[in-house]
């Protein structure tokens, strides 16, 4: 296939940092030839192939699914693979590592602090082990019950919300939007019985009440998840629980055989002949 003609030359101001050599991060400019449709990730590849092979960043899927290429692009945390260069600027753009994380090198943030916090909130179904591990039957959950937490499951752990959070910028002990959203996702799940366990962390020092609802996490999320909402729902749940005003959550039942589910009898669509 013939190579497309470059339409523009865009200057990339890229943050460079090698902790073994550099005292502090610095910015280096690269003139990148940009075609229509090129993403920032493509631009970085172009730099590596044509200008500077030492530039380092993290990526994997190139289609906004894996969440590896979260970066600070033109001052906003977002996915490099999901951001077209010419949609941002016709002259120059800035690319840096996600804020609020240690830098491993250049554009690679150390996400371990985020994943450690994520692990702290028990991001899994908490329920009686024997019932959970039994291969017999399945938990019944209605579409409405699924809807209550569905959007929070779209989180890809890219860390953009953590990079945008002003509270996290000043206090590293704050759990942050991603772990708190994961926490609320499981609180809302009717299969789960771990609220009391998570409430200790969510209501603690670095928990949900440190959030001032700046809303940046929700604005920057590349997957349209609303962590700000999750945290406010979590706060409400914690307060109602403290005041003993929360309704008792009924965990969903496990159905043991066919026909016990409410939808099963009517699920088979009648055979139809498609006209024409």
């Amino acid at each position: 296939m013939a190579e497309k003609k470059a339409t523009k030359t865009i200057t990339f101001h890229v943050t460079r940092y090698n902790p073994e050599v550099d005292a502090k991060p610095y910015i280096r400019a690269y003139a990148v030839e940009v075609n229509d449709g090129m993403t920032v990730l493509d631009g970085l590849h172009w730099i590596k192939e044509n200008l500077d092979a030492t530039l380092v960043w993290r990526y994997s899927c190139r289609m906004g699914i894996c969440g590896s290429c979260g970066m600070l692009i033109n001052g906003s945390p977002t996915l490099a693979c999901n951001t077209q260069i010419l949609h941002l600027s016709q002259k120059e753009i800035t690319v840096g590592p996600l804020p609020n994380f240690e830098i491993i090198r250049d554009l690679v943030p150390d996400l371990l602090s985020m994943f450690d916090k994520h692990a702290m909130v028990s991001p899994n179904i908490v329920r009686d082990e024997a019932e959970l591990n039994s291969t017999q039957g399945e938990f019944y959950q209605s579409p409405e019950e699924l809807e209550a937490y569905l959007q929070f499951t779209y989180c890809i752990k890219c860390g953009c919300c953590m990079g945008a959070c002003p509270t996290l910028a000043t206090d590293v002990r704050y759990l942050g939007p991603m772990p708190l959203t994961a926490l609320e996702r499981y609180n809302e799940d009717t299969r789960d019985e771990g609220f009391a366990l998570r409430a200790k962390i969510a209501g603690g020092k670095g928990g949900a009440f440190r959030c001032h609802y700046a809303g940046e996490c929700s604005r920057v999320c590349p997957k349209g998840v609303d962590p700000g909402k999750a945290i406010q729902l979590l706060k409400r749940k914690l307060v109602l629980d403290y005041l003993h005003l929360a309704g008792k959550k009924k965990p969903c039942k496990k159905l043991e055989g066919p026909g016990e589910g409410k939808l099963l009898p009517n699920m088979i669509a009648p055979a139809r002949t498609i006209p024409g």
Binding site: T167, D171, G203, K205, F209, L238
Partner: protein
């Protein structure tokens, strides 16, 4: 571990009470004189006579003390939240919390004494 929930719940509750009491305060200050709401002695709601009349009522004295309490708690909790964002050392944070509690209790004691003294003086003035 769950103290955050407890403190924040009371912070919100104090905010609601503040809104109600400040609403009452605004009504009395700006409408009390013209409609004689809690201001039976003349058209000036903040005149000494009207103030003394309100001070002599125990419900008002208690509302002043309540306003002081919720205002101090709401304000000092907010201040503590702001200071916590400075990411101080745990010992420093504990010292700061203790200091704020001491300041809060001290100011509450002083203000409550003043409100109660005003109530007693107004009562004595009324009888005299």
């Amino acid at each position: 571990m769950r103290n955050g929930t407890k403190y924040w719940t009371w912070h919100m509750a104090a905010g609601v009470v503040l809104l109600l009491l400040l609403g009452l305060h605004m009504v009395i200050m700006h409408m009390g004189g013209s409609v004689h709401l809690f201001a039976p002695r003349g058209a000036d709601a903040v005149s000494e006579a009207n103030s003394q009349w309100r001070d002599s009522k125990i419900c008002f004295a208690l509302s002043y003390i309540l306003l002081l309490g919720v205002g101090l708690y709401h304000g000092l909790y907010s201040l503590r939240t702001i200071l916590l964002e400075l990411t101080l050392k745990p010992a420093m944070e504990k010292a700061m919390t203790i200091l704020l509690v001491i300041v809060g209790v001290g100011l509450f004691g002083l203000g409550s004494w003043a409100a109660w003294a005003a109530h007693v003086v107004a009562l004595a003035g009324g009888k005299g």
